[in-house]
Structures are given as structure tokens and as C-alpha cells.
Amino acid sequence: MNRDTRRTRVLLALLLITSIALITIDYRGGDSSPLDGVRSAAAAVFGPVERVAAAIASPVSDAVDSVGSLGDGRDEAARLKRQNQELKRRLRTGALDRHRAQELDDLLHLAGAGRYKIVPARVIAIGTAQTFSWTVTLDAGSRDGLRPDMTVLNGDGLVGRVKTVGPSTATVLLAVDPESSVGVRLESTMEVGFTTGHGAHHDLDLQLLDGQSTVERGDRLVTFGSQGDMPYVPGVPVGSVVSVTGTPGSQTRTAVVSPYVDFTSLDLVGIVVEPPRADPRDAVLPPRPVSPTPTPTPTVTVTVTPKPGG
């Protein structure tokens, strides 16, 4: 095995052919690939490993900082230094916890506004950028009631949809993945279109179906809602228009949309396990920022009356 022998070359050819055969089988299979069983078995086995690894890895920056405090502690200065660092670490963890609580608060607020029944989950693993696809793994799975094609959101808006589900984990295809196509509706009008993504660092592209539609910078989008509410429930905020491209009167109008969700720092998300009974329309969008109207400055006239006897 140490040298490039004839045996090694036979092995190389064998494994390359196996890989190509697997790719072909999986590619031909499409959505009902015969390898889906192997995939879910792998999720069942490796999902718990990822959960443990994520639990160890997430406070790793804290751990790196506190390594410096692992002195022998024989003298007072070292002891106090260590104590100080421990307190600093606690302070940081406290800030992290407060941030999480705020995220959960936002999520519950959004779910309440749209009357979505959600299951909360955290992102434990993210796909490598070199794989060219934008997917994340959540720490909730079929045991928590998750099924493929459920809508995933967070406190800011639409995150994506559930692609595959394991017993304790689920994989989400983000709305910024080029394979994601989300049906959307402009706020207050019934203009419909769909957005497609170009990765987490880029804005979404919007295509409106009606070439005559009027779309302006600052227009806000919510999901239109898919048939049977899968994969997207209606009314979830998606983003706002930052620029309009294309000319009116052409087949379709296109625009660039900045998503509400920051896809580069996803943590707490909610999976819609039960869609709302009625379309929440624009109820979930945050209130429009009030533009500062020029308030008339009151003119105060003070008449100084000389006090008697003053």
C-alpha cells in the first residue's frame, strides 16, 4: 500500500468507478433517489455527532480566551488574574444568553403575528462553501414533528425550507440557494413574482410576472404561499426592494431584493409545523418606520411682567 504499485492503481480505478456510478445513480434518481435511504441512515448516525460537536465548538472562542488563565495559581496575582478572567468569561456568556433570548423573543413575536405554529431549533452545522450549495443542519428532526418541505423562518423573516429530515436533525435549503425559488407578493398590492438566490453574500433577484407592474425601491415582499402551504406558508416577510432593473412593458419586471434575514449568522430558527388558518397578509411585516414629519415648532412668547414689589 505504500508505493504506487499495480495493486494501488487497480484500487484507484475501482474507487473512481464506484464514485462515478454513485453520482450517476443519485443524479438519475432525482427527488426519489435509491440513495436517499443511505443518506437518512447517515443523518441518523452522524446527526448526534454533529450535535455534540456543535455544543463543544460554539463556545470555543471563549475557551481559547480562557486558556491563558490555566496558570499554576500558586501566587496571589495568578489567582486573581484567573478569577478576573472567569468573571469576564461569565460576563461574555451572559451577553450571549441575552442575545439568544432576544432572538427567541423576535421569533415568537413573528410567529404570533402570523399565527404560525412553530418548533424552535438551532443551526448546528453549515455546509462548506466549496460545495456550492447553501444548506444548514438544525438540531430538530422527525422526532420533533419536522417533515420535508416545511417553511423555516426566524425573527427577521424567511430562512428557507426543510429539504431532508433525520431522526434528530434536519437539513434546510436556504432561500439564498440558487435552487430556491420563492413565490412572493408585494406588500399591499397583489403583484406576484418569485425570488431566486445567489448565495449568502448576495441579494435576491425578484421577477414579477406582470410586465406592467409598478415596483419601487423600498417595496416590501412577503411569501405568496405555496399550494397546500408547502414548502412556503403565506405572509412571511422576505425582504425589501433595493433597486429595480428592466424596463416597464417588457415580459417580466426584475428587481434586486435585500433579504431581511442575515444568512451569514443564522442561529435560532423556527420551523412552521402548522400553517395559519387564514393568510396573514401583511400582518407579519414590521410597522413601517415613521418618517420624521416636520413638526411645527411652537413659538413661546414670554411676557415678562414686573413682579410687584420686586
Partner: protein, 171 residues
């Protein structure tokens, strides 16, 4: 194949894969993700040669293709990493000549893996593989992998040699 080697390789690759998806891809870096798993495959190939390297590459690639959050065709990373393991193993004898050889191997593996994976995707009309995406990944992938290899390669090589020595002592 001595069992100590195989056991060690499985442990190292499992840990690398778990850290790859939970820690490496969370780092707020622009462009590519530092590919810890690729570096462990390269290190094992440099330690034990092309035969061992290609088996490690195939196993690691198949794992990446299957475990969540994978959403691409099974076999794509297996194909790429099998080749990486084999070719890195071929460079093993050259590493004794110069300390720069492993760095060159890592740089070529980093760039080659991105190009090969994208190439397979292009053959299948993968809509995610665009020239723009490849161009933004390529330079950062090489830089991150070379920097990370300064820590990973010596560590894995030292552990691998130590395991060999222990094996020899028992025999």
C-alpha cells in the same frame, strides 16, 4: 494495512468532518471555508503513500456526500478526494527533499479540489456552479488551506508516526 493506522485514520477523519461542518464553516471568513478534512486526507496520504491516501480520500469524500447538511449528488466529493489522496501520496518521497513540498501539495489540492468539484457539477448542469462562484472561492480556498496546513500537517504527521512507532514496539 496495519490496524493501528486504519483506526487512527478513521478517528482523525471523523473528528475533522465534525469540526468542518460545525466550526470551520461558521468562521466569519469571506469566500471559501478552510478545508480541514482535505488537509487531514493530504496529511495521511503524505504519511502513508498513495494507496492509503486514496482509500482515506474515498472514505472522507463519501462521508461528506452523505452526512447533513449535504444536498448534492452522492459520490461527488468521493471522486474528488480519492484523486487528492492518491496524488498527494505520490508526492510522499519528494517531501524528504524540501519542506516546501507539502505546502505546494496543499495549495494544489485546495485549488484542484474546488476546480474538480465544480467541473463535475458543470457536467451535470448544477445551477449553483457558476464561473463567478468558482472565481470567488479559488484564491481564498488556497490561502486558507495553506495557512491552516501549517498547524494541521505537522500535528497529523507526528500522531501518525507515533502510532507507527508504538505498533513497531508491540510487534
Amino acid at each position: 494495512m496495519p490496524p493501528a493506522r486504519a483506526v487512527l485514520a478513521v478517528v482523525l477523519l471523523t473528528v475533522a468532518l465534525a469540526l468542518q461542518v460545525t466550526l470551520m464553516s461558521r468562521l466569519p471568513l469571506p469566500g471559501a471555508t478552510p478545508d480541514l478534512l482535505l488537509l487531514v486526507v493530504v496529511a495521511l496520504a503524505l504519511a502513508h503513500g498513495p494507496g492509503f491516501g486514496l482509500v482515506c480520500g474515498f472514505g472522507a469524500g463519501l462521508a461528506v456526500d452523505l452526512v447533513p447538511p449535504a444536498d448534492h449528488e452522492v459520490g461527488r466529493w468521493a471522486l474528488v478526494l480519492t484523486l487528492v489522496g492518491y496524488l498527494a501520496g505520490m508526492a510522499r518521497d519528494q517531501t524528504r527533499r524540501s519542506a516546501f513540498v507539502p505546502l505546494v501539495v496543499v495549495a494544489v489540492a485546495g485549488a484542484g479540489s474546488v476546480l474538480a468539484y465544480a467541473g463535475v457539477g458543470a457536467l451535470m448542469d448544477d445551477p449553483n456552479v457558476t464561473w463567478g462562484a468558482v472565481r470567488s472561492l479559488l484564491p481564498t480556498a488556497v490561502v486558507y488551506d495553506v495557512v491552516l496546513s501549517a498547524f494541521v500537517l505537522p500535528a497529523v504527521l507526528a500522531v501518525a508516526r507515533r502510532a507507527e512507532a508504538d505498533q513497531a514496539a508491540f510487534a
